[in-house]
Symmetry: C2
Subunit: 286 residues, 2 copies
């Protein structure tokens, strides 16, 4: 187990911070750490197919003003070694292996989409490790997903400059405009960018997410096993993992707040990044 580097990265943003590496359990994990060195770290769990540079600097850097924020590639993703597993339980184990490698006894988790499933699994199983939980654009076990149909549709829109425009934003001019601004932000880093993911990552990830939603959990046992304060966020018109999932999780969890945003899709947290950051700050500080 390698200890977290202690150099201060207070002034760096996601676009400029160096990519660091830590080894544990036979995996060499790539990560970036932002913000102050004290306070409960917020660990980010990324969406299907995303790497560290798929996070929005507007969200990550703003959250890192008040707390350590850590973005990382889970096993096999981006520049982390190993084979990406095809199930959420293994992804959760690997994420805990990464957190342990940094020697962090207590963290907050922000899981987006696939990362939200992983975050739920960790929170349910590791009550002492997770202080607070933020779930964005995600689904409970046994939830509703339209992943393959929506992905197919998005990638068929060859005129779109990036599949994330149709996938993460609605068709309204306001949402599309926010989408273009988001793309500009995530592409701002030009040197030492993370490695794009191919089918060796996305195939098992798709299987993990689809299996998660296809596995019945009629009593919502997993949601009910999460006792940490939780903030559940979704866009009104998320086509891949509909907002009904968020309402379902809210109702099953004992200590969740629900926030739904208007005229927004899967990328609601990027579209309303000021609002989202404000809500997350209020939640984490409360």
């Amino acid at each position: 187990m390698t200890k977290m580097k202690t150099a201060s990265h207070d002034m760096a943003g996601l676009e400029t911070a160096p990519t660091l590496y830590v080894e544990n359990g036979g995996i060499r994990f790539a990560y970036r750490q932002l913000g102050p060195s004290t306070g409960t770290p917020l660990v980010l769990l990324q969406h299907f197919s995303g790497n560290i540079d798929a996070w929005d600097p507007a969200v990550v850097n703003a959250l890192a003003v008040d707390r350590p924020v850590i973005a990382f590639d889970n096993t096999g993703v981006g520049r982390s070694t190993g084979q990406t597993p095809d199930n959420i339980a293994a992804m959760a184990r690997d994420a805990v292996t990464f957190i342990d490698a940094l020697g962090l006894p207590k963290v907050d988790l922000l899981g987006f989409s696939l990362g939200g499933c992983v975050a739920q699994q960790i929170a349910a199983e590791h009550g002492r490790l997770v202080r607070k939980l933020i779930l964005v654009g995600t689904a409970p076990k046994g939830g509703e997903e339209h992943l393959l149909a929506v992905l197919q549709d998005a990638f068929s829109q060859t005129e779109a400059p990036d599949p994330r425009l149709p996938l993460f934003f609605t068709k309204s001019p306001a949402s599309q405009s926010a989408g273009l601004a988001f793309l500009k932000r995530v592409k701002a880093r030009t040197e030492d960018r993370d490695t794009d993911n191919g089918k060796a990552v996305t195939d098992p990830q798709a299987k993990a997410l689809i299996t998660w939603c296809a596995t019945p959990d009629p009593d919502r046992a997993l949601s009910r096993a999460i006792s940490q304060p939780t903030l559940v966020v979704s866009g009104s018109h998320d086509t891949m993992l509909p907002a009904d999932n968020a309402y379902t999780m809210f109702k099953a969890m004992s200590n969740a707040q629900l926030m739904l945003y208007p005229d927004s899709g899967h990328g609601a947290l990027f579209q309303y990044h000021h609002l989202f950051v404000s809500h997350v700050q209020t939640f984490l500080e409360g």
Copy 2:
């Protein structure tokens, strides 16, 4: 039409501010005004049976730090004259008469429960008058209500020190404790308290609220007619006007944010007053 008094009440709280009066349309309206004299005023629309002193000073005074906040008694309520009408449309007309009496060209509205129905009606009909809308513990036209059953149950709990404990809070120790703190706050004003309401107020109010929910609006025409940015808030376990109403309004409205709070009833805004104020401030400033 009488102009709003211009004396500064910046330093007064709801518990200490003088009760003012303004006449328009044959009604003498009682009100209190808090906060600075500049900025878009936030007008509060009160719940079934409530008067000015039923508002929580912790909410009202905190919101008044940054903006004018006006609490008033609508027609027939508390110390306002006239006969309380038995329908939401007339209550909305009366509220606009009051706002006109103060010479306010543009306001934000915070409507709680019955007041939320009135606020929706005003926002839908007076697009220019209402800048932003906050709907708490309320229902759309044609929504779900369990008013009479829940009231009957609450008033049968004779051991409760105040019917608002079982009506506004859940049975959990945390919620009941927040309820006792709320009761202490709303009872802090000892002089010049508003007049309690009897059946001449509550009978027509109950009829108005029940009729509102019993009037079908299958296409959600009223919700869809509201174009103002709207914040919809509800407690997870509101027994009188369930949280499903909030989700229904959010989905029908074009520009609404939804916030649901855990382990809370009809009085979620009082139970989580710090959180609610933070969310309202973020919403109004955004």
